[in-house]
């Protein structure tokens, strides 16, 4: 069974704690963190006008350093009109289509990754703070159910590796506790920045499970559960992972 985050604080470890010194050094210093390339792109996009409304993110939200501080710690967050939680990427696209009258950005495309990395970085160092209330609870529970459900040809649940066997090795790599503390992050294996959903796809394909489409409700629910499970842990965006 899953322990409540509040009571398991000491036991919880970020993926950072499992990394080599060299990879940690990359994350620790902005001048060496390749993810900062995406952050820099994101800043340019934030200030650039787009869409039929010819409006930039900054025209409504002002300076992201102030207005976006802490925002990424609360996502996925419940959206009243969608009547379900939306991920940070979906929120950016909602803003684009409704306020900027622009076409939505492609999931895992460079622009959406850049913007979410830039917004995410404004919350770096802050504790993750997902709210569980009557709105989010059913979706969070659906995510928990996915996390604990055996699936795929290997018939494995997320929990079997990341709860029962964290700290051990899988093909030479440490099995982490699956706390999404630094997304979007620069992954050396990808040679680029990717979202949490891309990382989840990675695990699903590894267990030979049919992966959900990017932005699918199942993915957002799982993301919501994982972020809630990491409540109180420090956000590291843009993190670096091996």
């Amino acid at each position: 069974m899953l322990a409540l985050p509040a009571s398991a604080d000491e036991a919880r470890r970020s993926g950072y704690d499992f990394m080599s010194r060299a990879t940690r050094a990359m994350q620790d210093e902005d001048a060496a963190n390749t993810g900062m390339l995406w952050v820099k792109d994101g800043e340019a996009l934030w200030n650039g006008k787009a869409g039929g409304a010819n409006r930039a993110c900054a025209d409504c939200h002002g300076d992201a350093v102030a207005s976006m501080k802490g925002v990424a710690t609360r996502y996925p967050a419940f959206d009243a009109r969608m009547r379900r939680p939306v991920s940070l990427e979906q929120r950016i696209n909602l803003c684009r289509t409704e306020k900027q009258k622009a076409t939505p950005l492609a999931h895992e495309g460079p622009d959406l990754l850049a913007l979410s990395a830039y917004i995410g970085m404004q919350s770096r160092g802050m504790p993750i703070a997902i709210v569980m209330d009557e709105n989010t609870k059913p979706f969070l529970e659906a995510g928990r159910e996915t996390f604990n459900r055996r699936q795929g040809q290997l018939n494995l649940s997320c929990a079997q590796c990341h709860e029962d066997n964290w700290g051990r090795k899988l093909a030479g790599n440490p099995i982490t506790q699956a706390h999404p503390t630094g997304y979007p992050l620069y992954r050396l294996e990808w040679q680029g920045v990717g979202s949490l959903q891309r990382r989840l796809r990675n695990c699903l394909v590894g267990t030979r499970t049919q992966a959900y489409a990017y932005g699918a409700p199942e993915f957002v629910d799982l993301e919501l559960f994982l972020m809630w499970r990491a409540n109180g842990m420090t956000l590291e965006t843009p993190a670096v992972r091996p």
Binding site: A31, T34, L37, K40, D41
Partner: protein, 106 residues
């Protein structure tokens, strides 16, 4: 878009050894891979990096197909006089990126 990250101290004392760090965005295709149909994917890498200090080359590097994407270069030089540091990456398919940044030496 923003495709480089360059870091070094903007102010330095004369004779001080300064550390310069530079990252450039590049996908790096080795030239050794093939498509599913067996066609070779042509090489597309950065082949050369130089750093000039007021026009004088202070550091250069040659890259080969094993170079990682978005390479990070770190080197040191001696702060001799105020001026500009220029950074130039050149590679396959006419790839060329040049950046300059000012340094003040007292």
């Amino acid at each position: 878009m923003a495709r480089t990250l360059i870091t070094f101290p903007a102010n330095a004392r004369r004779g001080e050894i300064i550390e310069v760090k530079a990252i450039v965005a590049h996908e790096m295709e080795t030239g050794f891979r093939h498509t599913q149909l067996g066609e070779a994917i042509p090489r597309d890498i950065i082949t050369h990096f130089t750093c000039g200090y007021n026009g004088v080359e202070v550091f250069s590097a040659t890259f080969y197909p094993a170079i990682a994407a978005n390479p990070f270069i770190s080197f040191s030089t001696v702060a001799t006089e105020s001026g500009t540091l220029s950074f130039n990456w050149i590679g396959d398919n006419g790839f060329s990126v040049t950046e300059t940044a000012a340094i003040s030496v007292s």
